[in-house]
Structures are given as C-alpha cells and as structure tokens.
C-alpha cells in the first residue's frame, strides 16, 4: 500500500514536472493539421444594405472531447471573424471583428444534444450527436456588417476561425487541456474575399 501510494506520489510529481516542462512545447504544438476543427467554405452575400455570411464548418472532435461531451461536460466553441484590408508592406488593417460562441451539451434525461448560441440564446435539440455538430457547423445568413461600413475604394477580405474555448471547461480539466493536443482544437484561419 505504501508502495502504491509512493508510486502515485511519484507519478503525480512526475506529472507535475512534465506539466511544467511540456507547457512550452504544448503551446507551440499545432492541432490544426489533424482532423480537428475545419472551415470548409465561407461566403458573404449582400442582401439589401447588409452583408450576410454563410459558412460550412466541420467539428471533428477528438475522442476525449466526445467522451467529455457524453459525460455531461458542456463544450464551448468560439467563432472569430475579422474583416480587414490587406496591405502589402505592412500589417493588414483591421476593419472590424466579431466573436460568436456556441455551446453543445448532452441532456441525459431527454437524451438530447442541445446546441445553444450563447449570444442570441437560441437553442436547438438534437437526438444525435453528429446531427448536433453538423447543425452547429452550418451557418446561414449570419448578419455580418452594414454595407456602409465598407468603402468602395478599398479591397476587403475576411477571415474566420473556430476553436474550442478551454477556459470554459471545468477547472480540473483545464491544466491538462492547456497542454493536451486532444483539447487544443482550433481551425486554421480561413480567408475569403468580400465582394
């Protein structure tokens, strides 16, 4: 018993040390080259005086994330959209940026996956997980910005990225989530031109 406790103790110390040592490496590690979160397509269209955004996102969650979801851990995703003017010799000039947050949660009693748009409060229930994730990945007619906000002389581009919000996870999971590539879920920036 003593040995097992000692083993646990040493393992935990080793885990802590590895946590300290690997933190730098882990932050540098990129998860976007795996089958994680993807942006398949994005487009904007002008409807009246407003630009609307249509996007197709893929939420390819890791086994650990799916496991957590099925065990009642809510997963929050953040959609970052930025409109900018590209510049050749300097940093791009940012026009405006938007953040949208979505949460997916398993409701055990109803056996439903509930997807909630945190900003609008709208929630939808899905009996299957994949359906919930697919529906979360379909963005249609998302009001983006007014036409008058853009100058006709400038060239505008937008970029979009979706990522898992680790800070929204329960606290005990966070230290490992910060350094574990299973949890460092984020898509590459996807850039498109705004016509």
């Amino acid at each position: 018993m003593f040995l097992s406790a000692l083993k646990t103790c040493s393992l935990s110390m080793a885990g802590l040390l590895s946590f300290i040592c690997l933190s730098c490496y882990a932050y540098a590690a990129s998860a976007s080259d795996r089958d994680g979160l993807r942006v398949y397509s994005v487009s904007t269209h002008l409807q009246g005086e407003m630009y609307y955004l249509d996007a197709q996102l893929g939420y390819g969650l890791s086994r650990a994330a799916l496991d957590a979801l099925d065990n009642g851990v809510p997963l929050t995703f953040e959609l970052e959209i930025e409109i900018f003017t590209p510049r050749k010799w300097f940093w791009d000039k940012s026009q405006s940026s938007y953040n949208y947050r979505y949460q997916v949660l398993y409701h055990a009693l109803t056996q439903q996956y509930i997807v909630t748009n945190i900003d609008s409060g709208i929630q939808n229930s899905y009996s299957r997980r994949n359906t919930a994730l697919l529906s979360m990945g379909r963005i249609n007619n998302l009001p983006l910005l007014a036409k008058k906000e853009l100058s006709e002389d400038e060239e505008y581009r937008g970029r979009i990225r979706v990522s898992l919000d680790i800070d929204a996870l329960p606290a005990p999971m966070r230290p490992w989530a910060y350094i574990n590539t299973d949890w460092l879920l984020s898509s590459e920036w996807f850039t498109w031109e705004i016509n």
């Binding site: 935990s12 009642g72 055990a108 009693l109 005990p172 230290p175």
Partner: protein
C-alpha cells in the same frame, strides 16, 4: 553600519515575504478554483501561470544563492563550509516533514475523492433517471394520442381554417404550442399559449425529415427557462388527389410542474454526478497539482529561508573569520557591526574590543619603537660626531658597531666589517695588527683596561690611546666589549714638545742669564789681575779665564741648542728627493779619515718634507755617528735608503750605520730623549731633535746596536704621492708645533 545591514536584510526580506504572500493567495484561489468556485474559476489559468512564475522566481533565487554558495565554497571563502552544512541541515529538516505531510495528504486526497463516488449511488441515480424517463414516457404516449387526434382533424382543414383549429386544440390538449408546416417547412398555422410569440419553436431538420417520411416523432426537449417539454411531430396528409400535401404538425407540451421539477432535479444531479465521476481523475490530478505546487512553494521557500537564515547566521562568523585573517595579516582596523544581543553579537563585540586594544597596543609599540629609534639615532649622531673612535665587540670578538670616527682614526672602513670577526681587519689592512692584538685578550678578560698602541701606516705614525670595558648583560654576565680609542699622536708630541719647550725656557732663563756675568767676571778677573801677577800666575789665570769663557760659550751654545729644540718653526713641506739630499749633506763631510758608504735605492720615490729640517736631521745623524766613532782611526758611516712596501704601506727608509761602540746598555730605550748621552761632548739633544723632526714628518725612528759592531739608526718616512694629498696632516703638524 548596523542600520545599513538591517536595511539590506529588510530589502531582501520584504520582496520575498511579498512574493510568498502573493503565492499563498494565488494558491488559495487555485484550490478554490479547483473546487469550481465561480469567482476564481475564470482566473484559473492566470492563477496557475502566476504560481508557476512565482515558483520559477523562487527556483531562480535559490539557484543564484546555490551558485554563490558553491563559488564561495570552491574559493574557500571563510564560513562557506559552515554555511553549506547549515543549509543542508535546514533543508533536510524542512524537506523531511514537508514530504511526510505531502505523502499523507496524497493518501487522504486519493481516499477522499474516491469516497465521493459509489457504485450504488451511481446506480440509484441512473435508476432515478430511468424512472423519470419512464414516467415521462407515459405522458409522451398520451400526448402522441392527442396529437394523432389533432392530426386527423387537420387532414380535412383548409390552410385558412387551420389556425382556428389549432387554437381550439391548444386549449383542449393543454399544449403550449401547436404549429402546422407545409411544403418547405412553410408555416401554415401557429398557435401558442404565449400571445407574444409569433414564430414556432422549430424541430430540427432530422426530425422533420423523419416525419415527412411518414412516421411520427416524440421526444423530450428542454426548453430554455421553461423546463422539460414533450415535442410531438406528426405527419398530416391533407387534401386529396393532386392537391394532396404532406404537412407536419408540431406540438410542444409542458409536463406537470411537480414532475418537471423532480425530473429536472434528477437530471441536474445525475449530470453533476456523472460529470464529477468523469472528472474524477482530472480532479485528483488538479488537487495533486495544487498540493504539489503548495509543496514546492513550501519546499522552495524553506530552502530559500535555509539559505537566507544560514547566510544571516553565518554573516558574523564570516566577518569574524575574515577579521581574524586580517588581524593575522596585520590589519587591526577591522570593526564589524554587532548583530543582536546573542552569543554571536557578544563574540563580535569581543572581537571589536580585541582589535581595538591590539591597535592601541600596536600604536603604543610603534611610538616606543619610534622613541627607541629616535634615541638610537641620537646616540648614533653623538657617536658620529664624537672625536673618539668607538667600537663594540661581542664575546666572540665579532664587530658589532663602529662609529665613523673609528674608521677615520684607523684609516680603513671598519664599518664594512660589522658582524665579522675583528681578525678580518688585519687580513685586509696589515698596519692594524697591533691594534687587533690588544683586542684579542678581551675574549678572556673583563673589566676596565687602558693601553697605548702605536701604529705605523701609510698615513704615518699614529699613537692610539685605547680604553675599554666589558658590558654587563641582562643576566649579569659579561657581554659585549666596548672599545674607545683616540688618536693621541699629536697630543703626545705636543706634550713632549711642551715639556721640552718648558725645559728650554728654564734653561734660557736659569742658565743663560748667569752665563754672561760669569763670562764678564772671568774676563774682568783676567783684565784686572793679569798685569799684577807674575808670569806663571798670569798664565794660570789666563788659561783659567779662557777655560771659563770657553765653557760659558759652550754652555751658551747648549742653551741655544735647547732654544732651537723648543722653537716650533712653520714646516715648509716640499717634494724632496731624499737620495739627492743625502748626497748633498754627506758631501760636506767628505774627509780622508771618513769613509762614507752609500747604498741608495734609486727606486725610492719623492717624499714630502721640510728640506731644511731634513738637512738638520741628516747633520745630527752624521754628527752622532762621528761622535760615536770619535776615538777610532778609521771611521766609516754607511748610509742606506730603501723603498719599503710593508703591509701595503709605502714608505722610504733611511739608515745610518756607524762602526763605533754602539749605544750603552743603560740608555737602552731612551736614546731619543734629551740629555741621554754618554759622550763627553754634545748637548744630548742631537737624537732628541732627530726624533722630533721625524715625528714632525709623521715618521718613525728606531735605533739599535748591531751584533758585530756599531749601531744603526733607522728612519722611516711616509711616501706622499702628491703635495696636497694629506693637507690635514700637514696642518695638524703645524698646529702642534705652534702649541709647543
């Protein structure tokens, strides 16, 4: 300085205490965050980072301290070894209890977290959930029936009437929302218990698709802020023929308030339990992380405090060690700050007192030494200015001290022989042999002594009056010998001159004065009574008076000779060729009865002398020789000159040898004193004048009988290489004669 030290400690301690407080606070928040406290939970990542950074700062500080300590240890800095030991002891003392606490905390943590979870609880919760689902299932079936009825009713209802029908059914079924969707999910009719709501709560695409394929859908659905609802979606086939259209009826039923509350509670706690169960491992790890970080903080703090305390404790010891080293190196000005009233403080105070006293003692010693030096210098100055030569010898007759005048009197640098045996002087300078000889008995003799030494050197004849005594050492035994000597050559000569001058004056006064009346009386007797006497008497009278007159004349000559002896003419020193002078003088005595035999050394150098005095000297010598051989038929005088180079001293020797009877035994040793004569004629001053002239020239004169026949008088005159080579001597001679 003590305040500065205090400030420096405070300067180190304050930030460290601040850092530790911040870390403790962040640990508190971390542990709360681990337990899911909402207010800290958002800051969890930051708190973690701050704690890590704090720990890294501590590790860095410990590393710096360790590096310094190791460097000091390797460099052998005073106190570093003891500091290392203290640090090790402190570290061991802190690590062991902390590790034990850590071990038991881990055990406790494992058990505590595991005790939260129980298979029975899990099972009961699952059962409760299933129970809820089953009870809701019944309700769902009822609702499906109701919706089925509604759907049947709507099959024949036109789009325009559908709204009314739905409103009617809404009240009858107790649903909160009823909506009918047409093709492409177009809303045909909608009825809600909430009048403000104009858009139905849509089913998702999957459900609609499923329903459009002919089957119905029933399911529970949590509605935001309204609890659990039952959604029933039912296909409605309306119209007929070519207008037949598959519509979709959506119904949302609330469930019983009590059932809703209970089911919601079951759902909530089931989820919480399941989530906790799922997070069990991570939770343990989080607690372990917190605990480990607290442990590390405690350990690192303890290690740092160990360094801090050891250094603080060792500071006075290190100071003392450095101070002792400094004292050993002769630096007595070190003072250290006194830290507290403990034993170390007492030690430092004592050390400070000690160095202060040593410094005082040293300054007093230096003062005394300076006084001794001053006295020594004063003594040296006195000895240096003393006209007497002073020499000290140890009991083995090694020269210890010599004053400059001693070197001057002895004619060589005696000071260069300090520390060497006195015999070494003779090896270097032969004329001092006699001087050294009188010192030799000192090794066996003690007490006061006095002796006169005559030296003959290149500088001439020197009479030294030596006095000495043995110093008594500290143990009362005989120690060093001190010898004081004066050059009394001039004094002796002056005394003699003065004595004979006095004799001469007395003679002039006492003898010469009555001579004239005697002579006059004798002449008057002859003049008065010669004619009155008969021829025989007159002859007798005449002879007698002539005898008286002659004797008076000779007495006058004798008195004049004394006057000559007593007078002190100024010496007129010139470079003279002695051989030439000898020739000139002997030429005057060239008579057939006298054989004058010369052995003159052609190498004899010029000498420095008064020519007229030397002539007188030669005349006196020749006269003395002639008088010594007065009754011989054949007279012979040998005159020799030689260049002598004896013991490194160059002088010219002049010898006059006669073949007479020699000096009588009774006058042995007094040949050159006035009135010492065995001759019927003569004043007895001839040789006395010779000696006087020789001494005036710094020479020596000796006389001795030869074993075969006759006697020889030898004169040694010093050779001076230049006229002005020894002007002091010349002046001294003149002065001495002036006095005489």
């Amino acid at each position: 300085m003590g305040n500065q030290l205090g400030r420096s400690w405070a300067g180190v301690l304050s930030p460290m205490i601040g850092l530790l407080l911040i870390l403790m606070a962040s640990f508190y928040m971390l542990s709360n965050a681990t337990e899911n406290a909402a207010r800290f939970s958002n800051l969890y990542g930051w708190i973690l980072l701050i704690n890590l950074a704090g720990l890294l700062v501590l590790v860095g500080m410990i590393g710096i301290n360790l590096y310094k300590l190791v460097s000091q240890y390797r460099a052998g800095v005073a106190g570093s070894r003891l500091t290392v030991r203290l640090v090790m002891v402190f570290v061991i003392l802190s690590v062991i209890p902390v590790s034990i606490v850590y071990y038991f905390s881990l055990q406790f943590l494992q058990r505590s977290v595991d005790s939260w979870f129980d298979v029975r609880i899990e099972k009961s919760l699952e059962d409760a959930l299933q129970l809820s689902q089953v009870s809701l299932d019944l309700r769902q079936r009822e609702m499906v029936k109701q919706v089925h009825d509604v759907a049947r009713t709507l099959e024949d209802v036109s789009e325009s009437n559908a709204g009314l029908v739905l409103s009617d059914w809404l009240e009858r079924t107790g649903a909160v929302e009823l909506s009918l969707l047409g093709k492409n999910n177009r809303i045909i009719a909608f009825s809600s218990s909430d009048p403000g709501k104009v858009v139905p709560h849509r089913s998702n695409e999957d459900v609609l698709m499923q329903v459009r394929q002919g089957s119905h859908y029933v399911g529970l659905e949590p509605v935001k802020d309204a609890g659990i609802h039952v959604r029933v979606v039912y296909p409605v086939l309306s119209g007929s023929g070519s207008d037949r259209e598959l519509r979709v009826l959506q119904a949302l039923f609330p469930i019983d308030q009590r059932l809703n509350t209970l089911a919601g509670s079951v759902q909530k706690y089931f989820t919480v339990y399941k989530k906790l169960n799922y997070l069990r491992g991570q939770l343990k790890n989080s607690f372990l992380l917190t605990l480990s970080m607290v442990l590390l903080l405690s350990l690192f703090s303890a290690v740092w405090v160990a360094f801090f305390s050891a250094q603080r404790l060792m500071a006075p010891v290190r100071d003392l060690a450095e101070g002792t080293q400094a004292v050993a190196d002769g630096d007595y000005d070190r003072q250290f700050p006194v830290s507290g009233n403990n034993e170390l403080g007492f030690l430092v105070r004592s050390f400070n007192d000690m160095t202060r006293r040593i410094a005082q003692a040293r300054s007093q010693a230096e003062e005394s030494q300076q006084q001794v030096e001053a006295q020594r210098a004063y003594l040296e100055a006195i000895l240096g200015n003393l006209s007497s030569g002073v020499m000290t010898l140890d009991h083995e007759l090694n020269i210890r001290t010599v004053n400059p005048e001693a070197s001057k009197i002895l004619g060589m640098d005696i000071q260069a022989y300090t520390g060497r045996p006195v015999d070494d002087i003779v090896e270097a300078y032969g004329p001092l042999r006699r001087f050294v000889e009188i010192l030799k008995p000192l090794s066996t003799r003690s007490g006061l002594w006095q002796e006169e030494v005559i030296l003959f050197s290149q500088a001439g004849r020197k009479v030294l009056m030596c006095r000495g005594t043995t110093l008594v050492d500290e143990q009362g035994g005989s120690g060093d010998h001190v010898v004081v000597f004066d050059d009394i050559t001039m004094l002796v000569q002056a005394q003699r001159d003065a004595a004979w001058g006095e004799v001469a004056r007395r003679l002039a006064h006492e003898i010469k004065n009555p001579l004239t009346p005697i002579q006059l009386s004798a002449e008057r007797l002859q003049f008065k009574f010669q004619n009155k006497m008969d021829e025989n008497d007159a002859k007798i009278l005449s002879r007698s008076t002539e005898t008286i007159v002659h004797q008076v004349e000779s007495m006058k000559e004798m008195v004049n000779a004394f006057t000559d002896y007593a007078r002190a003419p100024v010496m007129d020193l010139r470079r003279i060729d002695l051989n030439r002078l000898v020739y000139e003088v002997t030429e005057m005595y060239r008579v057939p009865e006298l054989k004058m035999h010369h052995q003159l050394d052609e190498r004899a150098p010029m000498i420095q002398a008064d020519e007229s005095r030397l002539r007188q000297l030669l005349h006196n010598l020749i006269k003395n020789a002639l008088e010594a051989m007065g009754d011989l038929q054949t007279m012979q005088i040998d005159i020799m000159t030689r260049c002598m180079d004896e013991s490194g001293c160059r002088f010219v020797e002049l010898s006059v040898r006669d073949y007479g009877q020699g000096f009588p035994e009774e006058t042995m040793g007094h040949y050159f004193e006035p009135y010492i004569t065995t001759k019927s004629k003569g004043t007895g001053l001839g040789l006395a004048i010779v000696k006087k002239i020789v001494e005036e020239h710094g020479g020596m004169v000796t006389a001795e009988n030869l074993p075969d026949k006759g006697a020889i008088i030898t004169i040694r005159l010093p050779v001076l290489t230049a006229l002005n080579e020894n002007p002091e001597q010349s002046r001294a001679m003149t002065g001495a004669k002036d006095k005489a």
